[in-house]
């Protein structure tokens, strides 16, 4: 129910009372309301839930997580094989 998926904003239009975007999810493009993240620009990634963008994905935060995960993965590869 609370499913929200990331997509890339390819186009944003102001309708006066509302701001809408074309958002790409893999191969599919859908119309999405930007009412809750009005500062969104084309090129941004947003999380979309029931037709509404609910957040702009922060590239800096995502990068920090990747860095951390890469470290964990490397540490694991260096660790001796442990018996399960």
């Amino acid at each position: 129910m609370c499913l929200a998926i990331p997509g890339k904003v390819v186009e944003a239009t102001d309708l006066g009372f509302s701001r809408i975007a074309k958002v790409q999810f893999g191969g599919i493009t859908r119309q999405v309301s930007l009412d809750f993240v009005p500062e969104t620009q084309p090129g941004d990634y947003v999380l979309v839930h029931v037709g509404f963008a609910i957040s702009r994905i922060s590239p800096e935060e995502a990068e920090r997580t990747y860095e951390l995960l890469r470290q964990i993965q490397e540490a694991d590869e260096l660790a001796p094989e442990e018996p399960l």
Partner: protein
């Protein structure tokens, strides 16, 4: 796809599980609150990767599951009326009421439609000015702003044939109920990342401080969940009890302010009954007086019905993490997703349905 595939990486998942195994020294009971997270855990078999010390119990975070039986009956009754176009998120269509479900209403000639977004219902109301369009507004804080926006647009457009049957529930009061229970076993929580995307840290910070319990806001992919579990285990092993945010690519401290504002503009907080749990004070939404014209309960007349849940169903215990689905004598036999007896079997995000779908049928002795 970007921001998705990386978080399903099998090597990172394995590495995180190894880190948890290396860290854990004692048994810990953790709860993921949200049904979407339960679904991911089961789908990717994550509990099997964890050391035996880490026990995961599943929370009440499935709005479809906790919508009370009488509320589903109410929806069915409205949907059956001539002239009504009843619009619902797909999840809700096959949820059984006490007698029927929305699919059967449709089979019997009712105009029941499935929508991806509540805005589709607003559009229908514009297209069919002589019909009453009723939207089934269920959901947590993640969905409530979208439903509020649909109402706001209906008002802006001056629509008089659009209304909403609202059954929103709020997460923190349910967590407070669990934590306050004398039989609570949960020592650390994964908070729902999309609810927190809207609501921010504040309420979960308060719960963590009040009950001195570690809470980590977590995402929905396998890597997100294992990282959140690793963060909880770190806290518990260190003797810390803080609010931490694993899902920082989406969740900010203050949350989504425009969404919070609109939700508060249209709805106010009220007591709500949760299927399988009972009445929880101040745990849901109802329309504010200014928006009463869009309240389907008022338009179609309120109705007090009381329906008993099947006695065999232990969903109250399952939804509070006190029992596992496989502890239920009806699991997989008298209760299946096709013929659900209780709340957590009706939606794919309910714990019983997630166990069933991913074949965790390790019921001790199914008394068929």
């Amino acid at each position: 796809m970007k921001y998705l595939d990386e978080y399903r990486d099998a090597d990172i998942t394995r590495a995180l599980a190894a880190r948890i195994r290396a860290r854990v020294t004692r048994p810990w009971v953790l709860m993921e609150i949200c049904g979407g997270q339960t679904h991911t855990l089961m789908r990717y078999g994550l509990p099997d990767l964890l050391p035996p010390e880490v026990e995961l119990v599943h929370g009440p975070g499935c709005p479809v599951c906790v919508a009370p039986l009488e509320f589903v009956d109410r929806a069915i009754e409205i949907a059956s009326r001539p002239g009504v176009i009843f619009v619902s998120y797909g999840d809700m269509l096959r949820v059984p009421g006490s007698q029927s479900d929305l699919f059967r209403v449709r089979a019997a000639g009712g105009d029941v439609r499935m929508a991806y977004s509540p805005l589709e219902a607003v559009k229908l109301a514009q297209e069919y000015p002589t019909r009453q369009v009723v939207f089934f507004g269920i959901g947590f804080e993640t969905t409530a702003p979208a439903n509020a926006m649909a109402v706001w647009h209906a008002k802006r457009l001056g629509l008089t044939n659009f209304s909403m049957l609202v059954s929103h529930v709020l997460v923190p009061p349910a967590v407070r109920l669990l934590l306050g229970s004398p039989v609570n076993r949960v020592q650390g929580f994964i908070a729902p990342g999309h609810v927190c995307t809207i609501m921010g840290h504040r309420e979960y910070q308060a719960l963590s401080t009040e009950f001195h319990v570690p809470i980590v806001i977590g995402g929905f992919e396998p890597v997100d969940l294992l990282e959140a579990i690793a963060m909880l285990v770190d806290q518990l092993e260190d003797g810390r009890a803080q609010l931490e945010n694993q899902y920082s690519r989406s969740v900010t401290r203050e949350g989504n302010i425009p969404a919070q504002k609109l939700m508060e503009e249209v709805f106010e907080i009220t007591d709500r009954k949760w299927r399988g749990i009972g009445m929880i004070p101040l745990s849901g939404h109802r329309f504010r007086e200014e928006y009463a014209a869009y309240d389907a309960e008022r338009i179609f007349g309120a109705q007090e019905i009381h329906v008993e849940e099947p006695a065999e169903c232990i969903s109250a215990l399952v939804l509070q993490g006190l029992k596992k689905p496989v502890d239920c004598t009806a699991f997989g036999t008298r209760c299946t997703p096709e013929q659900p007896l209780g709340a957590p079997m009706v939606s794919s995000e309910g714990a019983c349905a997630a166990y069933y779908a991913y074949r965790r049928h390790t019921a001790p002795e199914a008394s068929a």
